[in-house]
Chain length 149, copies 2
DNA sequence: TTCACATAATTGATACATCAATTAAATTTA
DNA sequence: TAAATTTAATTGATGTATCAATTATGTGAA
């Protein structure tokens, strides 16, 4: 039986990578803005780039379920980062607005996130990064909508 | 300000990869063993490979906090996959045993997990995979124990 | 126009994640 | 040996994840 131990697969490495990156990121973010999570920061930035996006659309970008987005947003409203109303032309949709506090946070977060990325990719050249992306995209494709025979 | 949108970074791709892989895996696993999660399956396999490991050690391998391991295990005990006692030589430690049901599950899971991996890596050659691992390990190293200046 | 269907968001149930604080046993060190 | 420190596991608080079911609105076809 040629079954590799879970710890000896790429998937293990991929998972470890994202966890380490998140841990480092969260630490550096918390040093600047204490009451926000990485996921909330991302959501905020996405929303600033795409004002007027629905929760559905945000979820699509962040590949998160609708339910997760609903809960993240209600937390962020409670924490004063977002304001929420209903879309005038489609009452099913919510209309989301970044508050002043949210805007201030974004300004603080952008440089930190930039530094985190640079830190994580230090001494790794662009071609290597592209190769990784290319391979991982194949994996994503392989995993999309497939079941084992 | 040269700030890439979050969706245009490797980290985004890495995160998406692991999510797609997990989604595909969970689906295929559920088709064979309906009442187990990927994480529980992994824990079971790790424990079989390393009988006598402490929760601490298991957590180390799976890079999960002690608290997570505690809760996973108590769930698995409740679900009849594990038995738990105290270690005779060190009463702080727990001694974990895979039940018969747990063993049966492992036998069912190993082939599915093998297929999942193969499916995910289909048409990607070994050298590509190694390169990805090499680069990601650099990222992991870069993110370990570093704070931004 | 009404009725079937699609879509956006929410909610409940459950699993897992982190952090901080606690308990209890083992080990060091004074 | 007694006291201080370390270590393994647990617990509480909180955030996120999934799935399935529900609500409410919008849209297309009969």
């Amino acid at each position: 039986m040629k079954f590799d131990a879970p710890t000896r697969t790429v998937f293990y490495t991929v998972e470890k990578t994202i966890k380490q990156y998140r841990k480092m990121s969260q630490k550096n973010i918390s040093a600047v803005v204490s009451d926000i999570t990485i996921d909330q920061a991302l959501l905020l930035i996405i929303l600033e780039e795409h004002p007027g996006y629905s929760q559905k659309e945000i979820g699509g970008i962040l590949f998160r379920e609708d339910a997760s987005i609903t809960r993240m947003i209600s937390l962020m409203v409670r924490n004063g980062l977002l304001k929420k109303g209903t879309h005038p032309e489609d009452k099913r949709r919510s209309s989301l607005q970044i508050t002043k506090k949210g805007q201030e946070y974004i300004a603080l977060l952008i440089p930190v996130i930039g530094r985190n990325r640079a830190l994580a990719l230090h001494s790794i050249d662009k071609r290597e990064v592209s190769m990784v992306e290319e391979v991982l995209r194949k994996v994503i494709r392989n995993c999309s909508g497939r079941e084992s025979s």
